[in-house]
């Protein structure tokens, strides 16, 4: 069984040129989709494949597509979320820079499936090179007739535009992203109505992650059963894991879902400098920390959930035995505090409180009771905020205290002996 699905050709030189992409089997899925399947049949196929969203929440993609109204007086939109701001995550960039046509082909097929004629790629502003690569790939695809008016003689117009963000993590949240695309401050919207019904320009809108969409051509090429046969029963296909931190070979590793963390660590050539594992974020900074006790955990949606964490975006951040957990949590709390959009008070005030308490602990001015204070602030934030960013801010706090309370106590008593990180 081939391990790589999405990144199969991403290392091929010139894969971003349409000729090379086609030589490697590209743009076969789109004509097949248009000629052999009705839009509904594609939605069913994707549903049968078991593909779940790769942007963080893991919602079944086919089900989500099914929520788009079949008929609509307003145009429908597809939006690709390429904001990639979750600390630790760098997989979408690998797809965009390595195999942009795979994403474009996936978007063209997805647009056909949901009945969209216009799609946007919302790419984080810092990815200037990625944006340029996408724009030229889109132009190539349009010239070749895979995008634009009357795509491949189907009578359908399908086009893609690239929209650059401007440096705000919250714009990765899908409704904030839509506000940003509409030229507003990127603040989350109240749900319902959900974007599938009232999204971009108050029209039905499907928002999917880059990796999710890049899987679509492969599902058309090889079938739903093939895809469902990879990974685990409820987490099908592969996942691109981004491994960073204290490993010998950081980078992107695509493997079938359900691989053990231990195996994954081996792929990254183990912990650097012969040290021992202390802890890891399994799916980005918004997912609760796990420890060396979870070495054998399977990396898929359900196993990680059972262990009290999440697969998230698949960003694995590894920390060795010498790292200070308090400092790590403090750094992330500062991140969430700074990136909070300020719309709702539990998140706006709560993250600021958390940051203040962490600051005094880091300044060796921690007080007795600060650990419980952090927990109680987190408790007040959790579940009370407008969007999941507030919850996310509490994850590193609660999980690091759960497993490393002693380190917090050492800090407060002025006895932390961890190396700097």
């Amino acid at each position: 069984m081939s391990e790589k699905i999405v990144l199969k050709y991403a290392d091929v030189p010139e894969q971003k040129n349409i000729g090379t992409y086609m030589k490697n089997g590209g743009y076969k899925a789109l004509p097949r989709a248009l000629s052999e399947y009705k839009p509904d049949e594609i939605i069913q196929l994707v549903d049968k494949s078991g593909l779940r969203g790769r942007g963080g929440a893991g919602f079944p993609t086919g089900k989500k597509w099914g929520f788009i109204p079949k008929t609509s007086p307003k145009p429908k939109y597809l939006v690709c979320n390429a904001d990639e701001g979750e600390p630790g995550t760098f997989k979408d960039r690998a797809i965009i820079e390595g195999d942009p046509h795979l994403l474009i082909e996936g978007m063209a097929i997805s647009s056909y499936a949901i009945g969209a004629h216009k799609a946007y790629i919302y790419i984080r502003g810092e990815f200037a090179m990625g944006a340029d690569i996408l724009v030229s790939a889109i132009n190539q695809a349009r010239e070749a007739g895979f995008l634009g008016k009357n795509v491949l003689g189907s009578g359908l117009d399908i086009d893609i535009d690239v929209f650059r963000g401007a440096g705000a993590y919250i714009c990765g949240e899908e409704t904030a992203l839509l506000d940003s695309l509409e030229g507003r401050r990127g603040m989350p919207r109240l749900k319902p109505p959900f974007p599938v019904v009232v999204g971009l320009y108050a029209s039905p809108t499907m928002i999917n992650n880059v990796e999710t969409l890049a899987n679509i051509p492969r599902i058309i090429d090889n079938g739903a059963e093939w895809f469902a046969g990879i990974g685990t029963p409820h987490s099908t296909g592969t996942k691109i894991f981004c491994i960073s931190g204290d490993v010998n070979k950081p980078g992107v590793y695509e493997t079938p879902m359900g691989i053990s963390f231990k195996e994954l660590l081996k792929m990254a050539d183990g912990i650097k400098d012969g040290k021992k594992l202390k802890a890891f974020f399994p799916g980005g900074s918004s997912t609760p920390i796990l420890t060396d006790a979870h070495l054998n955990i399977e990396m898929d949606f359900e196993s990680l959930k059972k262990a009290g964490s999440m697969l998230g975006s698949g960003a694995v951040i590894v920390l060795n035995e010498d790292r200070c957990m308090v400092k790590t949590a403090a750094r992330l709390v500062k991140f969430y505090r700074d990136e909070s959009c300020g719309k709702c008070s539990p998140c706006r005030e709560g993250t600021d409180w958390l940051a203040k308490v962490y600051k005094r602990i880091m300044d060796n001015k921690g007080r007795d009771g600060d650990i419980d204070l952090l927990l109680s602030i987190s408790h007040d934030i959790y579940g009370t905020t407008f969007c999941p960013l507030g919850d996310a801010a509490t994850m590193p706090v609660v999980s690091s205290i759960k497993y490393f309370r002693k380190e917090y106590e050492e800090h407060i008593n002025g006895k932390c002996n961890h190396t700097d990180n």
Partner: protein, 159 residues
């Protein structure tokens, strides 16, 4: 005035405007265009954007202030952004920042007197596999070390 900066800008803006469903959606692309051209977005240019789009300059200013990537005062020739999030932190981002502060004789958040370099820390740049990561203008430099940084800076000093 036929040739005023703003008349020239307006011409470019019409091209941008055409691509969007609503004038509002052209705000970020226009601000990005201005910043690329002048390095920062002046009050005057905020007004030009507002005029072209038929929106108030307060509205444009409010959008502008939400996003971290816009400069509202003249920026340096080389904007140096050092990622300081966790993965880069584990690989010595703090050392790179200290090195740059000493090398450029400025503090994080400041700009050199000659306007050549500015130093800022930023959140995760989405390139953690190459930590520590430094972005200078639009280019990413990965697996940075003080030695590599020194080479890049001295090259840029000659420019």
């Amino acid at each position: 005035m036929e040739n005023s900066i703003n008349t020239l800008l307006e011409k470019d803006f019409q091209g941008i405007l055409k691509r969007y469903n609503t004038p509002r959606s052209a705000i970020l692309p226009m601000l990005q265009f201005v910043q690329k051209k002048y390095g920062y977005i002046s009050k005057e240019n905020v007004e030009t954007v507002a005029d072209v789009l038929g929106l108030s300059s307060t509205e444009i200013g409010s959008v502008l202030s939400f996003y971290g990537m816009f400069n509202t005062s003249p920026s340096a020739q080389y904007m140096i952004y050092v990622c300081s999030n966790v993965s880069c932190g584990l690989h010595g981002a703090e050392k790179i920042i200290t090195f740059l502060e000493n090398r450029l004789n400025i503090k994080e958040g400041q700009i050199t007197v000659d306007g050549k370099f500015a130093l800022r820390t930023v959140e995760c740049l989405g390139a953690c596999g190459g930590a520590p990561v430094v972005q200078i203008n639009n280019t990413y430099y990965e697996n940075m070390t003080n030695e590599k940084m020194e080479k890049i800076i001295s090259e840029m000093e000659k420019q």
